[in-house]
C-alpha cells in the first residue's frame, strides 16, 4: 500500500439526455478514511457512486486506484478491483438462504462441483456472529425483516477483501441497535485500511463517523471539509446555498369544525379501539415505531382496508368507506408512505401524474382537455414550487423532493377536506423537507384538516397542533403542541423514559413489530 490516496477521481463528468448529472467532480479517498458524501436529492451522489461501481461510464475524467488508472466497465470488474457498493435498494435473492446469498456466485465447492454446505454455513456463521445478527445462515432471506436483509447485504462485503467500500444510505431501515453494530463494522473496515465512502442524509451519523465531508450541489463539487473543523450549518450552506433552521416550531392555528371523528376503530390485529378527532385547520401528528399501525389506520380511512369494528364520522355523517374512489369522492386524500410504489406512475409525465386522481374532471365531454390539464399542472407547479423543465418531463427523472410535491399536488387537485400524509418527507433532501413542512402549515391555515404520520420525531413536533403516540396498534396518549416534549412522546410510545429507551428498548420494540 502506498501513502497516497486509495481512490482518486479526476474531473469526472457525466451527462444524460438533457441533464448534466456530474460536472467536473474531483475527489480522493485515503486508506483508513471514512469520507462522507452529501448533497440534496438530484445533486449527483447516486450517479457518482454508480460510476465508481462500474454501472455507468464517465463521459470525462479518469479514476485511479492506488495511483494507477482504472476503467470499470461492469460491477464485476469494479468488484474484482476491490470496489464494492452496498446498495440502498436491496439486491438479494429472497428465495435463497442467508448463506447462499452471501456467497452467491462463489459458493465453496466439494468434488464434482457439489456445494460444500458445512464450510459455507460455518463461514457465514462466523460473519453473522461478528455482525451480532440474531439469525442463522440457513434462514431464508425473504423471511427476514428489511433491516436484517440490509445486514446480509453488509455481510457480503466482509467476505471479500474490499479496498473501497461505498455505503449508500445504509441506515435508512436500521434500528438504533443495528446502527451501532454497523458503525462498529465501518470502524473495523477503516482500521483494516479500507477506504470508505459514506452517503447519508443524516447529519448526526456523518459527524459521528466521517473524517472528511464532500458536498455535491447540482452535480458540481461544492466543497470538501475536514469533519473536525466544520459544523452542520456550514455543511447545510454548502448543500443548499443558504442556512435553514429545521427545529423552528411553526405557529399553531385555530381549529374549526370536526372533519373526522373516529370512535373505537379496529382492524383485526393491526390496530384496536382507536378513537380521535381531526378538526378543520389543524394538523394531528401520529408518531410511533414502524409497525405500530399508523399506516394501517390511514389505509382504512382511505378505503383500502375494511375495519372490523368502530365508527367513522366524516363531516358529521357516519360513513363506511368502501374504496379509494369512494374516499376521494367524500373528500379524503392520502399521500402514501411509498412515493415510488404507491404514489407515482414513474413512466408517465408530470402533468399526467398530477391529474391522475381527478382525471374525469379533466374531460370536456368524452375527451380530455389539454388546456384544462395544463392549467391544473401549472397551478400546482407554481404553488408547490415544483422544479421541472416542463409538464412533459417523466416523473421518474425528477428528484425525490419534486416527486413528492407531484404526489401532494395530485391530492390537492382533488380538493380534499381531509389530507393524510404518510411519511411526507422520507428520503427527501432538507431543502424540500422544510418547504413541505411550511406547506403543511399553510394548508392547515387555509382550512384543511390534516393528519401527518411520521417516524421522525422532530418532524412531528414541528408541524403538529396535536400529537398522538401509538404503540402496537393502540393509541397511547394524545398531547397538545404546548405540552408535548420528546421525552413525553417517547414514554408514550414505549412506556419508559428516554434514556433507557434509546439504550435498550428501541431495538427490542422494533424487532418485535
Amino acid at each position: 500500500m502506498t501513502d497516497g490516496p486509495t481512490l482518486t477521481l479526476f474531473h469526472i463528468g457525466k451527462s444524460f439526455p438533457g441533464v448534466r448529472a456530474i460536472d467536473d467532480v474531483s475527489l480522493d479517498i485515503h486508506p483508513g478514511e471514512v469520507h462522507a458524501l452529501l448533497g440534496e436529492n438530484g445533486a449527483g451522489k447516486s450517479t457518482l457512486m454508480k460510476i465508481l461501481a462500474g454501472m455507468y461510464q464517465p463521459d470525462e475524467g479518469e479514476i485511479t486506484l492506488d495511483g494507477a488508472r482504472v476503467v470499470m466497465r461492469t460491477p464485476l470488474e469494479a468488484k474484482a478491483l476491490g470496489v464494492v457498493l452496498i446498495h440502498q435498494e436491496l439486491s438479494l435473492v429472497k428465495e435463497l438462504s442467508v448463506a447462499e446469498n452471501i456467497y452467491l456466485g462463489d459458493l465453496p465447492r466439494r468434488s464434482l462441483g457439489r456445494v460444500d454446505w458445512k464450510t459455507l454455513y460455518a463461514r457465514v456463521g462466523d460473519i453473522l456472529k461478528r455482525l451480532k445478527c440474531g439469525f442463522t445462515p440457513e434462514t431464508r432471506v425473504g423471511d427476514l425483516s428489511i433491516a436484517n436483509q440490509q445486514m446480509v447485504e453488509i455481510a457480503r462485503v466482509l467476505t471479500t477483501t474490499a479496498r473501497v467500500v461505498i455505503f449508500d444510505e445504509p441506515t435508512a431501515s436500521l434500528t438504533d441497535a443495528e446502527k451501532i453494530v454497523l458503525f462498529d463494522i465501518i470502524r473495523d473496515l477503516k482500521a483494516g485500511g479500507a477506504a470508505i465512502i459514506y452517503i447519508s442524509h443524516r447529519m448526526d451519523e456523518i459527524f459521528t463517523l466521517s473524517d472528511r465531508i464532500t458536498v455535491l450541489r447540482d452535480g458540481k463539487h461544492s466543497g470538501t471539509l475536514a469533519t473536525a473543523e466544520t459544523n452542520e450549518d456550514e455543511v447545510t450552506r454548502l448543500m443548499i446555498g443558504r442556512s435553514l433552521d429545521l427545529t423552528r416550531r411553526i405557529e399553531a392555528s385555530t381549529p374549526g369544525e370536526a372533519v373526522l371523528d373516529v370512535r373505537g376503530l379496529s382492524c383485526g390485529r393491526l390496530f384496536q379501539d382507536v378513537s380521535f378527532t381531526v378538526h378543520a385547520g389543524e394538523v394531528v401528528g401520529f408518531y410511533g415505531l414502524i409497525g405500530a399501525g399508523r399506516s394501517e389506520i390511514a389505509e382504512t380511512l382511505f378505503g383500502l382496508r375494511a375495519p372490523t369494528a368502530g365508527t367513522i364520522r366524516f363531516r358529521g355523517e357516519p360513513v363506511s368507506i368502501a374504496s379509494p374512489a369512494h374516499a376521494i369522492s367524500l373528500g379524503i386524500s392520502l399521500v402514501p408512505e411509498s412515493r415510488k410504489e404507491q404514489g407515482l406512475v414513474l413512466e408517465l409525465n408530470c402533468r399526467d401524474n398530477i391529474t391522475l386522481a381527478t382525471i374525469d374532471a379533466m374531460a370536456n365531454g368524452p375527451f380530455l382537455s389539454g388546456s384544462r390539464e395544463a392549467a391544473v399542472f401549472e397551478k400546482y407547479r407554481e404553488r408547490l414550487r415544483i422544479k421541472t423543465p416542463g409538464w412533459r418531463q417523466v416523473v421518474g427523472n425528477l428528484s425525490g423532493g419534486n416527486q413528492q410535491k407531484i404526489v401532494i399536488g395530485k391530492w390537492l387537485a382533488t380538493q380534499p377536506k381531509l389530507l393524510i400524509l404518510d411519511e411526507p418527507t422520507r428520503g427527501i433532501d432538507i431543502g424540500s423537507k422544510a418547504e413541505i413542512h411550511d406547506l403543511i402549515r399553510e394548508l392547515a391555515r387555509s382550512g384543511y384538516a390534516i393528519i401527518v404520520i411520521s417516524s421522525e420525531m422532530p418532524e412531528v413536533l414541528k408541524v403538529s397542533d396535536r400529537v398522538i403516540g401509538m404503540y402496537h396498534g393502540r393509541l397511547m396518549r394524545e398531547f397538545t403542541a404546548e405540552e408535548v416534549t420528546e421525552d413525553k412522546l417517547v414514554q408514550a410510545i414505549s412506556g419508559i423514559a428516554r434514556s433507557e429507551f434509546s439504550a435498550c428498548a428501541a431495538p427490542l420494540l422494533q424487532t418485535r413489530c
Binding site: 374504496s323 376521494i328 392520502l334 402514501p336 406512475v345 413512466e347 408517465l348 391522475l356 374525469d360 374531460a363
Partner: protein, 324 residues
C-alpha cells in the same frame, strides 16, 4: 473523434433501429423482386395486414394495461366459424351480432379472471386459448363451414368489397385505429389504462378501479378480434375450425415490433400500426421471394428478437447488460 462518431452512430442505430431495418428491408425487396413495389402488391399487403392489425389494436390496450392476451388466436377461429355458420342460418345481421356478443363474453371472462380475481394473465388467456379451441371443435363437430350464396350476400362487403375504391377491410382497420388512438390518448379511460399498466398500486391509490379497467381492455381486445373474424369470414366465405391458430403470436409480435413494452404502461396505437405494417411487409416480401410459408415464422422470430434487443439496448445505452 472517431470514438465519438461511433458512439452517436450506435445511438441512432439503436434508437431508430427498427425503422432503419424496415427501410433496408423495403429497399432490399424492391431490388430483388420487381413485383414488390407495385400498387397491387401494396394493396395486398395492406389487406393482409388488416386482420392482424384490427386484432393488434385491441391487444395493444391489454398490453399497455400490463397484461397479455393469448386467447385472440382461437377466439378468431371461433368467431369466424360462428359468423360463417350462422350467416345462412339466421341471416348476416344476426350472425354478426351473435358473433360479437360471444366475443365480448369471452373477453369478459378473461377480464374478470385477470382484473377482479387477480389471476396471472398468461395462465388465464393461455387456458382460454385451448378452451375456445375445444369449444370451436364441439360447435362444428370437426367439420369446416362455409356460406352457400357467396355471390349474392351483402356480407361480402367486409372482406371483398370496397368503399370509394378503398377495400373495406383497410377502411375498417384505419377507422378502428383512429378511434382507438383517440380513446387511448384523449380520454380519461385511456389515461387509466396507462396508469394501471405503469404502476397498478399507484393506480389503485389514485382511486382508479383497476379491475374495471382491465375488464374493459379485455372486452375491447375480444371485440376487435370479433371484427377481424367478420372480415376474415367475409373474405374466405368459409372457415376451417383452426383458422386462427398461431395468430396470437403474430398479433403480439406486431405489438412488440411497434415498440409497445410488455411491461405495461407505455406504447401507443401508432406504434402498433407501424409494427403491423412491418410484419406485413416482411411476410409479403418473403413470399414474393419464393420462401415457403413457414420460413416467415423463423424470420419473424429473428426480427422480434432484434427489435426487443435494440429497444432495450437504446434504453440502457449498451447492447449487453452489466448485470448479465
Amino acid at each position: 473523434m472517431a470514438e465519438e462518431r461511433l458512439k452517436s452512430a450506435t445511438r441512432i442505430l439503436t434508437q431508430r433501429g427498427i425503422l432503419i431495418a424496415f427501410i433496408l428491408f423495403m429497399v432490399g425487396f424492391s431490388v430483388v423482386s420487381d413485383r414488390f413495389m407495385t400498387a397491387d402488391n401494396l394493396q395486398a399487403v395492406f389487406r393482409q395486414a388488416a386482420i392482424i392489425g384490427v386484432m393488434a389494436l385491441g391487444v395493444t390496450l391489454v398490453v399497455i394495461c400490463g397484461n397479455l392476451d393469448l386467447s385472440v388466436g382461437s377466439l378468431l377461429s371461433l368467431s369466424t366459424v360462428l359468423v360463417v355458420d350462422l350467416h345462412d342460418k339466421i341471416g348476416p345481421i344476426s350472425a354478426i351480432a351473435v358473433t360479437l356478443l360471444v366475443a365480448l363474453a369471452v373477453g369478459a371472462v378473461n377480464g374478470l379472471l385477470v382484473g377482479v380475481a387477480r389471476l396471472n394473465s398468461l395462465i388465464v388467456t393461455l387456458g382460454m386459448l385451448s378452451a375456445i379451441q375445444g369449444l370451436t371443435l364441439i360447435y362444428t363437430g370437426g367439420q369446416n363451414v362455409d356460406i352457400q350464396n357467396q355471390d349474392t350476400t351483402w356480407f361480402a362487403i367486409f372482406g371483398r368489397g370496397a368503399i370509394l375504391g378503398v377495400p373495406t377491410q383497410i377502411l375498417i382497420f384505419v377507422v378502428l385505429a383512429v378511434v382507438m388512438h383517440v380513446v387511448l390518448a384523449h380520454t380519461p379511460f385511456g389515461r387509466r389504462v396507462y396508469a394501471s399498466g405503469g404502476n397498478p398500486t399507484a393506480a389503485v391509490f389514485s382511486g382508479i378501479r383497476r379491475g374495471r379497467v382491465v375488464l374493459a381492455t379485455y372486452m375491447t381486445s375480444a371485440f376487435c378480434t370479433g371484427i377481424a373474424a367478420i372480415i376474415l369470414g367475409s373474405r374466405v366465405m368459409g372457415s376451417q375450425n383452426n383458422v386462427g391458430q398461431g395468430y396470437e403470436l403474430l398479433v403480439l409480435s406486431a405489438v412488440i415490433l411497434g415498440g409497445t413494452s410488455l411491461l405495461g404502461g407505455s406504447g401507443s396505437i401508432a406504434k402498433t400500426v407501424i409494427g403491423v405494417l412491418i410484419l406485413g411487409f416482411i411476410q409479403n416480401g418473403l413470399l414474393l421471394l419464393g420462401f415457403a410459408y413457414y420460413v416467415q415464422w423463423l424470420v419473424t422470430w429473428v426480427v422480434i428478437i432484434l427489435a426487443v434487443w435494440l429497444d432495450i439496448a437504446a434504453k440502457r445505452g449498451r447492447m449487453f447488460s452489466p448485470f448479465a
